[in-house]
């Protein structure tokens, strides 16, 4: 539909807007996202006949400004998305390279464990851990990070396996390079483009999972303005005040669309053969 360049530009613009919003949240948000104002509960958004300009996207059941909550919510989403992506990237890439380069028993151990882990639904595991440990920001990041390392491990493993057979690795060994040196200097740089692509797509996935957890009441504790929380609060009054849940939904869709479009564009640009593949 779009060329890779258009996708990259579009995706990057959307992502950049969200990142800027997150950074400058205190300057952009018209209200304190936690401040309740029981006299202006459930004010409809500005385009509604009963709406008011003072609350562009209306207010929720406690009179909190939805727009401000979403602005602050972008911080949570981006923070959780990026840090859990980094964690899973670190674990998955290391294990994937080890499995691919060493082969044999290491490979069997790591990759069979990855298969088993992959068979286990991520959200179920997350629910289980949050239920036991509680839902703090750190916990969520760790759970999301740990539960998706397999995505990296499998991609990195496959690539490492084929890179290992390339003659320059053999040549490197013939010069006396150690395994860890070869992995760091000769294999890792070849993995980078693919890791960047997977990471971008993973951020979107992480944001969605965090939202889902918050929506289920297993994410960050309620007053925290996360998109999942706003969505969950809106659910209770979906017929009375649909704007609360709708606004959160639109924010999530836009962000995930932006990140995914960027990721897909990058993938098609870096690996033209992958274009058109799911």
């Amino acid at each position: 539909m779009f060329t890779p360049t258009v996708k990259i530009v579009l995706g990057a613009i959307v992502v950049a807007i969200f990142v800027l919003v997150a950074i400058f949240a205190p300057a952009l948000a018209p209200y304190d996202p936690l401040k309740q104002d029981l006299f202006s509960r459930l004010v409809p958004p500005v385009w509604d006949a009963r709406g008011s300009v003072s609350h562009i996207l209306g207010t929720d059941g406690y009179g909190r400004d939805v727009f401000s909550r979403l602005i602050y919510g972008s911080r949570v989403s981006i923070l959780v998305g990026v840090s859990s992506m980094l964690l899973s990237c670190l674990i998955g890439t290391l294990l994937g390279m080890m499995a691919g380069y060493n082969g044999g028993r290491t490979e069997q151990l790591i990759m069979r464990f990855a298969d088993a882990h992959l068979a286990f639904p991520e959200i179920l595991l997350a629910i289980l851990v949050v239920a036991v440990l509680g839902g703090s920001l750190i916990n969520i990041v760790i759970i999301l990070g740990v539960s998706s390392w397999m995505v990296y491990a499998r991609v990195v493993y496959g690539l490492t396996l084929s890179l290992k057979e390339r003659p320059f690795i053999e040549a490197g060994r013939s010069h006396g390079a150690s395994a860890s040196y070869l992995i760091r200097r000769h294999i890792f740089p070849h993995l980078l483009p693919m890791i960047v692509v997977v990471s971008t797509l993973q951020v979107a996935q992480m944001i969605l999972t965090e939202t889902a957890l918050s929506f289920l009441g297993l994410g960050l504790p309620p007053p925290t303005p996360s998109w999942g929380n706003v969505l969950a609060e809106g659910r209770d009054r979906l017929f009375v005040a649909p704007w609360v849940a709708n606004s959160a939904g639109v924010a999530i869709i836009l962000m995930v669309w932006g990140v995914n479009t960027l990721g897909n564009g990058l993938r098609e640009r870096l690996d033209p053969k992958a274009a058109g593949r799911g």
Binding site: A171, S174, G176
Partner: protein, 328 residues
């Protein structure tokens, strides 16, 4: 200057690959030795085990391979030393160059960074010293504008230049032994000659020992002191180049020499009928017997060891040409 102990002594070297539940012997019972400053040509058809032999010397074979026998390099058995010690020897004492200069260089790393690698592993040079030495090495392998070339990536160089870069890398730590695995096979004929000349000059300058693996007898004739011909993982004949070409003992050697095109363009080129048997389908007895013009019934019964024909000249045939085998 003569050191009585050879630089490299290989005793009863064997290489087997584990495949589909059984062991395939790619190389067996290889013995040879190489003195300082000597050049040995290891010749054979594809699949004769010549590359596996070279790779085995530095234990660069895949994990599925097992190595037997002894590889004594300056008295140290490389078949037994731990991997860590081997990493010290690889690139410093024994260096290797490969057939494909394109794929043997990392495409996403500048050649300067790659040339400096072995020096930084083994000599502990600073980045600045390594760079100066890299320029010196590139000049030594006759690469023009060496300093500018450091920033180039492999795809910016021609095949001949890439092989020169590989040679520069191999020589960077002043090795005592160079394993050259078909160094000219992937190159144009004119470039082949240049690379061989370069290797010869470098050998003369540095007193390096070289094992050159090739299927080109012409390379061996011009370049090597000694030759070993391999067939199906075993040495068929070994000896000094002169004896080898003038008085071949093994029918395989003779057939190989006869199949070199000469100036006489009339008549058909002599060929060896048949193909090299697969490792899974080795004939009983002498492995060359089914293709041998001189085979006799006994050849299918006896897998001959190397018999001494002359001092240093041995062949694994029960009926070597022009030689009488003393009763054992």
């Amino acid at each position: 200057m003569a050191d009585p102990r050879p630089l490299l002594e290989v005793r009863d070297l064997s290489v087997s690959f584990r495949s589909g539940g059984r062991d395939l012997r790619a190389v067996e019972g290889i013995d040879f030795s190489l003195g300082a400053g000597e050049v040995m040509g290891l010749v054979g058809e594809s699949g004769s085990g010549k590359s596996a032999t070279a790779m085995a010397l530095l234990r660069l074979l895949p994990d599925a391979a097992t190595i037997g026998g002894q590889i004594l390099f300056e008295g140290e058995d490389l078949a037994q030393v731990p991997e860590k010690r081997l990493n010290e020897i690889r690139g410093r004492d024994i260096a290797m160059i490969f057939q494909e200069p394109m794929s043997s260089l990392n495409p996403v790393m500048s050649i300067g960074a790659q040339i400096m690698e072995p020096m930084r592993f083994h000599l502990g040079l600073s980045a600045r010293d390594a760079r100066l030495r890299a320029i010196e090495l590139l000049e030594r392998v006759r690469i023009p504008a060496a300093e500018r070339r450091l920033k180039n990536y492999p795809h910016e160089l021609s095949g001949g230049l890439r092989q020169r870069v590989m040679i520069a890398m191999a020589l960077s730590c002043k090795p005592k032994l160079l394993l050259a695995d078909e160094p000219t096979t992937a190159l144009d004929v004119t470039v082949q000659a240049q690379i061989l000349d370069l290797l010869y000059e470098l050998k003369e300058e540095t007193g390096l020992s070289i094992i050159i693996i090739t299927h080109d007898l012409g390379v061996v004739a011009n370049f090597a002191d000694n030759v070993a011909v391999m067939y199906c993982g075993r040495i068929a004949e070994t000896g000094p180049v002169s004896a080898f070409f003038d008085r071949p003992g093994h029918p395989y050697t003779k057939a190989l020499i006869e199949s070199i095109p000469d100036d006489d363009t009339s008549g058909r080129l002599a060929t060896i009928p048949g193909t090299v048997p697969k490792l899974t389908e080795l004939p009983p007895g002498c492995r060359f017997a089914p293709r041998c013009a001189h085979s006799r019934p006994a050849c299918s019964d006896i897998l001959a060891d190397l018999y001494q024909l002359e001092p240093d000249h041995r062949a694994a045939c029960i009926m070597p040409f022009d030689y009488r085998i003393p009763d054992q």
